[in-house]
Symmetry: D2
Subunit: 337 residues, 4 copies
């Protein structure tokens, strides 16, 4: 920690700061500049209590941490890329993966048609929501366990592993029984009890970025998974909230090189939520592939206009097949298969 004192601080006020630094187990190191005295507090910032409280002392101007707070998810902890084995598929490896399927599981017919179609087009995993977090209590909340069973059936028929959302600690066992990957949604990205429950199931976890989550907070939320002894974490960018109203969210593709730099975990891009409009999804997928994403998560529906949730952002089966074709040269250019 670096503690910057205000200009012209009295000796006794400086001494009080030094005493407090020592009390919390750090070793102080004084540096006198032209305008300010700066104190370095030497010690492990992750095991010692934080010194940020000093910022409220009248003689202190600012307190700046030096060390990063994430450990297990960090690139330093694991210099090579991690890969996650999902029923034989590797996420984070040379092969580019595509997770596709409906926003919500609505019926056996809707799900099976979609599953076969996305498989034919080249998708390698099937997505579909059985439990849905909805802004209003009056909106469709998902088919629940019935939806999970339909997903299992679709997996059996197509061989595609399943990713589905977990939104209650109390469903962790149930959802893990059916799903190959547990998805933690945006609104639960800092629901730490849910993160712990998800980690403990042992299933791979896809952690979406919160609506206005800083990179550092996202890494630390991921740390909850690894610190609970589940190494199979992937991050998923799905757009953040900004002032812009043209799109539902602003997809932050810079997260791809940033996550690659800071962490060893795979990064997945969800352009459907990001754009909120199917007509922008194609360009965003191309960008994600070119920038080095490990996988895409795409909403596909046999008839988006009839979808029970988020129809505006779901692609048609034909649109998805066309997209998969158009992505090929970019996957090649990015050195992937």
């Amino acid at each position: 920690m670096i503690i910057v004192l205000k200009p012209k601080v009295a000796k006794k006020d400086e001494a009080a700061v030094l005493k407090e630094i020592k009390r919390l187990g750090y070793r102080p190191h004084i540096m006198r500049g032209v305008a300010h005295t700066v104190i370095g507090a030497i010690g492990d910032e992750r095991t010692h209590r934080t010194l940020e409280v000093l910022a409220s002392w009248p003689q202190v101007e600012s307190v700046m941490p030096v060390q990063k707070r994430h450990k297990l998810v960090s690139r330093e902890a694991h210099p090579t890329d991690s890969t996650i084995n999902v029923a034989g598929l590797l996420i984070g490896g040379k092969k580019f993966q595509v997770m596709a399927g409906p926003c919500s599981v609505e019926s056996e017919k809707q799900l099976l048609i979609t599953a076969h179609a996305v498989k034919r087009a080249g998708a390698t995993l099937l997505r579909g929501g059985a439990f849905k977090p909805r802004t209003s209590p009056y909106e469709f909340q998902g088919l629940g366990q019935k939806g999970l069973k339909l997903l299992a059936k679709a997996r059996k028929e197509t061989g595609l592993p399943i990713i589905t959302e977990l939104l209650s600690e109390q469903h962790a066992g149930l959802v893990a029984e059916y799903a190959d990957i547990l998805q933690i949604g945006t609104r639960n990205a800092q629901n730490f009890q849910l993160l712990i429950a998800a980690a403990k199931t042992g299933r791979p976890v896809l952690l979406k970025r919160g609506l206005s989550m800083k990179i550092e907070e996202w890494l630390l939320a991921g740390e909850y998974i690894l610190a609970n002894e589940n190494p199979n974490l992937m991050f998923c960018e799905r757009g953040v909230r900004t002032f812009e109203t043209y799109t539902r969210n602003t997809l932050d593709l810079s997260t791809i090189p940033i996550i690659k730099k800071e962490s060893h975990c795979p990064i997945v891009i969800d352009p459907s939520q990001g754009a909120g409009r199917a007509d922008l999804v194609v360009a965003m997928c191309k960008g994600a592939v070119a920038m080095g994403a490990d996988a895409l998560l795409i909403e596909v529906h046999p008839n988006p206009a009839e979808a029970w949730s988020d129809g505006a952002q779901q692609m048609t089966l034909e649109g998805f097949a066309r997209l998969m074709d158009e992505l090929k040269p970019f996957i090649g250019a990015a050195g992937r298969e």
Copy 2:
């Protein structure tokens, strides 16, 4: 719903939109303007399926809802102000309430000293965290049940009712056993399963605004409480996330007149989280009182520099007593007691 068609849409494309509108149970009403044809879809937007999916149709330019999505929390549902009876205290009535106490319960001594001091200064409820949601898994997570027991002891000694945070569905029964008000934190503001669990305990619920939650989303999250048959909801503004880095969050005091206009539920202001700096809290409290807030939620600690969490934003006991004095003329000017 209002559906705006693109300029110069073919008759058959217009007919397809009309057909879909009817299929979903609305009655279409056509209006031909100079550049666009606009279709009003007449029907109850809260019971019918949404038409927003039409926005993805190529012939449609935009879809605009006409009706508000919140019902039970709305001012129309309950034209007079709701009041919440908490162990005899009325929140939302003529008397202005002050909830004060430490960010985290750390020890019996710390809690009791604070409880007595804030009571002496005029606080009417005691706040204190027993379960703490922390950005990093390596930070202090609260004393848990031991903290709840200390809160109950402080209540017994001072007579102050208790407000404390609920952050896991699985703790709902336990926390409700001790607390007079359940607090739902910012990071769980759209953890709908937790909202339902909180509502079902029957305890009054204080719902903090999410980090980047729109007013409409906040009202709808509150709707989860009332729709689960718990009428005792209060909203709590604690600052939203913006680009500004001087303060930890940007306290949005305009929520006071907005919530008063849109809803009948009380509005509480938490300036400690908003500012993230004790030295700004005093001015923010004055503003909140003047603008018509029903209560304040303030972090107070006997020694902020030694606090185990968020020390920088906690006031000292003396600072709090001074604040309560300074607030008096503003409480009077606002027509409160």
Copy 3:
């Protein structure tokens, strides 16, 4: 400046950083922590070249400035509050000032009716736009010089000094001829050439905060006024851009204690732009007064529904008179007149 090196940097890479620090005129001071080596670069950060470029060196983790970049606007430069004398009125003194009038000057009748009415209600300055910055080139751009002449006439009739917007360097002389205070609008808050031109007229300058301007940037924009030898600067908060769509902007009232803490210049609040809705303005004015603002800037129009610009946010004459009455107890509570 504080330069944090990455963990385990080679000696020669550390030496390169030290060499560069010296080359730019700073004296390096090394501090070896448990994980990182931290280098303090001692020297005046305002006269030396910035070291932030080091952040792009591979061996460097981060670079943190220690000194504040603003000088003349800072509280340290002038520990007591500055007051600005505008035709005998003091802004920033014990007397609370209210600037009121129409968004745009539209006609002699509209302006004079408003000017007399706001004076009667207690306003002490007259606002009115003659040159209007408009989002679209097809919107009303103001009456220009004709508007300035009408403002001068209204001043003559009522005795109220005038504040009006300057939006072109080329109009600086012209507008300064008529106006008592030059207003720099939000969209020009970092139009540094305009700031310089405004400063050089010698007229007091009211600098609105940019749409997404950080406090530090705002202070530095103000520095352009003082550094060009014009001491008469006031800051004006008018709402920042956030994700919220209920209001046009989010009025950040925390700027009042922050500007008071960081600077000696007066702070004015413009709730009309902030709220974008006349029905929220009253509460915001009360909050601003209670929090210690020096003045309000309020849009008032004899018939808002017929206004040529921003009608939705303008108050009626009666609404304004009522507001002035309601503000009195809060002005008293805040220790103002």
Copy 4:
């Protein structure tokens, strides 16, 4: 315009709205829904006065525009892509263009070395700032006319056309004399007087997106160029301001498909400002190419660590050459040359 009345509005209040709609030249069309009466105001929203003021009437719930406010920049006005001829180069055509060079022109040597190097690596235009808008008045403000002369010299030696920033109306003639493209910077994106002055020089204009500018506002700012009879406009995304602090700005690559959809003007991506970090620029360039950008604007410096401005975001000459190589397969995959 669509005007939504509040539920249960009295007949006379409805009549007042209808009267006002007619007074402003629209033809009202009434639609009675289950909860609300909705009025369509039929007429050209671009030539008639706006009805948004009605939003402040007590009987009105909301007012929604139906028509887009931009005309000349819109895709409807010009269904095929516009191309801009800059000294024989076409921007917006099949050939992908790269504008590269230093943030600021610092010296003849620095500029010429860079110009030759970026040309060798494949850049097709030279960028360099002669007038620099700086957050603080104490920072380097550019070499001014001397910088322009150096740019002209570099053009003569390399044949690369020049793009440089215009930041004062009073320099419009001077800068246009030297520059092939005038750049309008982020902080001046809604400095409408500058936009008009730039348009009138007849030079092509590159309009950067403002720090927190909505797409609609950006299109309307562009409209100022075309409405002043200059058809040669290109938009340039350079990152918007969000809550994230890891990068300096959040580069919004979704602007590429959005601008392509809404407008016929070319779109250029500036990843240097967006990332604020040279180490992220490479991935962002790949994404921009894949998503269909027409050109890149990249900061390159022979020795970023010694740069007089924004060193952290400038690439080295070697880095730039490597980038150009790595971009080739993506340019091919995107169907460009």
